[in-house]
């Protein structure tokens, strides 16, 4: 087989051309000429400066607000004493396990529901219902059932992720054009083959959308869960923040919050975005 020029370079070039066209106009603040990394970091610098300025002007008591430098100091201390790295690892592990379980349960569930048009229609309202009752709302009930345990935190994450994942997997299957299935039938494909060759790959972009939503919701539910249950369930980043509050150390609270945001940005950049970009190249016509 002849291997033609890589498809990614073709799309890459197109994107490059679009970017080039965009950067020709100078823009209001003249930031167009800067590299994308600097452009992305700039607002953070502005935010930190603003924070610093507010702190310097108002000169609030240390219990209310501390300087960026002081928060950075708390951050370094927390890393040095080992609590923060351990808690970060624990939270990420919980999220990872939650993700795997939600994919394992939610994707097949969504696919099965999506296969039959009538079943999918019947299932949609209740799926929306459970989607709307957020994971955190389940926390009291979970505590009654499972106590202040790891199980409670994990159950809340899995629940929170399961419905967006399942719902989008179902929608993904339903929105695949019927002619793809028909075309495969004329080529002699049976039901299993059609599930494998059409429904599974065809719903993949939608499954990823669900996963992205699910991980976002799950991350929030996780922090909330750790606020409430973390003390007895072995900590976590949420526990770290909440515990700092009980100690009355605002610097640690803010350091924990910043870690929370930075971790999400890293997960987004390093894991979710690359997967989505691969999908856009391969499934371009589906999502376009």
């Amino acid at each position: 087989m002849v291997k033609p020029a890589s498809t990614t370079t073709a799309t890459g070039k197109d994107l490059g051309a679009v970017r080039a066209a965009q950067s020709e106009s100078p823009g209001l603040f003249g930031v167009a000429g800067l590299s994308s990394v600097i452009r992305a970091l700039l607002p953070f610098v502005v935010a930190i400066l603003a924070w610093w300025a507010i702190w310097a002007v108002l000169d609030p008591p240390e219990i209310i607000l501390v300087s960026p430098a002081s928060v950075f100091g708390s951050f370094i201390d927390s890393i040095a004493e080992g609590a923060l790295p351990t808690f970060i690892a624990r939270s990420l592990a919980r999220l990872g396990i939650g993700t795997l379980i939600a994919i394992g349960l939610g994707v097949p569930m969504g696919w099965l529901l999506g296969l039959d048009e009538d079943v999918a229609q019947a299932a949609e309202p209740i799926m929306r219902f459970f989607n709307a009752v957020s994971g955190i709302a389940w926390l009291p009930a979970m505590i009654i059932w499972f106590g202040f345990t790891e199980t409670t935190i994990q159950a809340v994450i899995v629940y929170t992720m399961l419905f967006p994942v399942a719902f989008n997997a179902m929608i993904g299957v339903r929105t695949i054009p019927k002619r793809y299935r028909d075309a495969c039938r004329t080529m002699g494909a049976g039901t299993l083959r059609i599930i494998r060759d059409v429904y599974m790959p065809g719903s993949f972009p939608s499954v990823m959308t669900g996963l992205r939503l699910g991980i976002g919701f799950g991350w929030r539910a996780l922090i909330a869960g750790e606020f409430v249950v973390g003390t007895t369930a072995g900590g976590g980043l949420g526990f770290f923040i909440f515990d700092a509050r009980t100690q009355g150390v605002i610097g640690k609270v803010m350091a924990g919050m910043i870690v929370l945001g930075v971790l999400w940005l890293l997960m987004d950049r390093l894991i979710l975005r690359p997967i989505e970009e691969t999908i856009n190249v391969k499934w371009g016509a589906v999502s376009a």
């Binding site: 073709a10 028909d182 075309a183």
Partner: protein, 276 residues
């Protein structure tokens, strides 16, 4: 008959035969009964290229869907090689009106798909796909995804995917309706070339009289809904000798176009329901 090989071929049983076919269905939106086809009879012999032309909504697509096995007719029967059509099968390849190649498969993997389903061995798939891509001018694009191709190229993939499995008959439903006019002329000539070279039996639906005459051995002119065959018109010039160049000045071909036009013209189109 237009089959050029004489006695033996004349006696060959029809690949497809349709007897007294009628079809009605309930329109899901208006809940009214739609009479799509009325007492359609036709025979398609091996190697025949039959085109069906008629106004929008005359039941052309319904007829194709019955032959493909997607729907069962209300009355009458359709046969492939003497067996009643009950479901889709690999003996009848379909090129759809709307593009039905899979967007997440490369050109190569789209064309290979039917062969994969049939369990053909890898080396043979490779050989057949390569032969097909060069036949339809897709060399060098094997690794591209459909969204990276022009409309004309995508249609070539759709045609190649159906052709490569070598089905006995190919059903085509206005495959070139969505491409631009210039590309369409090229694709029509290429299709003519391909069918002449491979001797495929083709059932081709269109609403363009010129396309129907240009491609077909025989043109079936359908009436407005409920569709019935008004006349079966033989196209005088052998397919191997056709080109758009020739179409523009050959009087026999021009007359055929005029004649088919006169059959189709004035067939009022019901404003309700979907394209049939």
């Amino acid at each position: 008959m237009t089959v050029p090989t004489g006695g033996a071929a004349q006696a060959a049983p029809p690949t497809i035969s349709v007897e007294g076919l009628s079809h009605s269905f309930t329109d899901p939106q208006t809940r009214k009964t739609v009479h799509a086809l009325d007492d359609v009879n036709l025979e398609i012999l091996p190697g025949d290229f039959v085109t069906v032309v008629g106004p929008s909504g005359c039941g052309k697509t319904t007829l194709l869907n019955i032959l493909a096995g997607f729907i069962r007719p209300s009355a009458g029967k359709a046969f492939v090689n003497g067996r009643a059509i009950e479901r889709p099968g690999a003996d009848r390849g379909v090129v759809f009106q709307e593009l039905a190649i899979l967007p997440w498969r490369t050109v190569y993997r789209n064309i290979a798909h039917g062969l994969e389903i049939q369990g053909v061995a890898k080396p043979e798939i490779d050989e057949r796909v390569n032969r097909m891509t060069s036949l339809v001018g897709l060399e060098g694009f094997e690794g591209h995804y459909p969204h990276q191709l022009s409309g004309g190229m995508r249609q070539r993939v759709a045609v190649a995917r159906t052709w490569v499995s070598d089905p006995e008959i190919i059903l085509m439903d206005e495959p070139f309706a969505a491409v631009d006019a210039m590309t369409r002329l090229t694709l029509q000539e290429e299709l003519n070339d391909l069918t002449v070279r491979t001797g495929k039996t083709v059932f081709f639906i269109t609403h363009s009289v010129e396309e129907a005459v240009f491609l077909g051995d025989r043109v079936m002119a359908l009436s407005a809904r409920p569709g019935r065959i008004k006349e079966e018109v033989h196209v005088p010039v052998p397919r191997a000798e056709r080109s758009w160049e020739r179409m523009s000045h050959d009087e026999a071909l021009q007359d055929t176009v005029e004649h088919v036009l006169s059959l189709v013209r004035g067939e009022a189109v019901e404003p309700t329901g979907q394209d049939g």
